[in-house]
Symmetry: C2
Subunit: 205 residues, 2 copies
């Protein structure tokens, strides 16, 4: 079905044009006219793919989350558990130019969603998916018997989820001090802080 493929490809190109405008000029400049211009098509042609600006924004927001999913799915996870968990969590952080661009756009959409109900549902859905992913990492620490005794799974899920979003924001605002190496170090340190010390682990029967 080449036509359907082209249709989807064109929607992605328009979403990417939306991202570029938002990064370069901010959300205030992301009008349908500017985005069509950036993508090199007419406003009329853009309307063929997205009837409203809200539809275009919801799709562009969704695409960020799909790219994160695709990256996580393509990871080769066969190392020690903490190493694999760190790899997954780092996919949610700006580790290079592409992911930095995604996060900047994500922050802009999340902020817009605060005063724009048409984007809120999309944002909430991705928020919940991310929460569940982080929850499964915390549960795995318990199931693999790595976690400190009496770890509160819900509390630690909320803490790690907030920490990851805070780190992503700091890396976007302040890339000179929150470098990729620093992000990795902080994620590893946090995961280790949730685990029994090696000594305690060896004492287990």
């Amino acid at each position: 079905m080449p036509k359907l493929v082209d249709h989807e490809k064109q929607k992605q190109l328009l979403a990417e044009a939306t991202w570029r405008i938002i990064r370069r000029h901010g959300m205030e400049q992301a009008s349908v006219r500017h985005i069509a211009e950036e993508a090199g098509i007419s406003v009329g042609s853009l309307r063929h793919y997205f009837a409203t600006q809200s539809e275009l924004f919801a799709y562009s927001m969704q695409l960020v989350s799909e790219r994160v999913d695709a990256r996580i799915s393509s990871l080769s996870l066969s190392g020690p558990p903490l190493e694999d968990m760190k790899k997954v969590l780092c996919q949610l952080l700006p580790m290079d130019e592409d992911t930095r661009s995604e996060m900047e756009v994500w922050i802009a959409f999340t902020t817009k969603a605060l005063a724009d109900s048409s984007l809120k549902a999309q944002g909430d859905q991705v928020f919940e998916k991310m929460r569940l992913g982080i929850n499964s990492i915390i549960k795995a620490l318990v199931e693999l018997d790595l976690a400190v005794p009496d770890l509160d799974v819900d509390l630690e899920t909320a803490r790690l989820h907030s920490l990851i979003d805070g780190l992503a924001t700091h890396a976007v605002i302040n890339p000179d001090s929150m470098t990729p190496d620093k992000l990795e170090e902080l994620v590893t340190h946090h995961l280790k802080s949730l685990c029994k010390s090696k000594k305690t682990q060896k004492e287990q029967p």
Copy 2:
């Protein structure tokens, strides 16, 4: 100097009108015309206080940070150290309607600053002030001999700073699950996780 006082008061009223527009309609609608209308004055009168939209935004951003400072200064801190530290950190989080409004506006300004260099300096200054405040809390844990052995002050400053900003964002995006009680619980839990266990503390000479 009643005239100077009035001048400052009027600037605050305009900043508050800016906050209301941003919260209700988003940054895209925060034009000088809309803000003047919301404040009940003419665009010409507004220009008397702020020559440009950038000046108005920089002042409005600054005012959020001054309100936080004022709240922290007015705290009565005489309890156990961890309790006092929690009280200070909670001033950086949306614990009621007023502070929730401040944080929403703060997030909108921070996002705008990503693509607007005129706001970036203001944002960086507040970011650094907040980092220093959090750094002094971490250093106090060490100086009061409450901290776990070998605590890395810079790493823990970066972790707590990111956590606080992540919690503030989650409480704004998702107030039903990230309630004030939950925020307090998470801050207390994090501070305790940086401390020696009571048993170890008693073992000290």
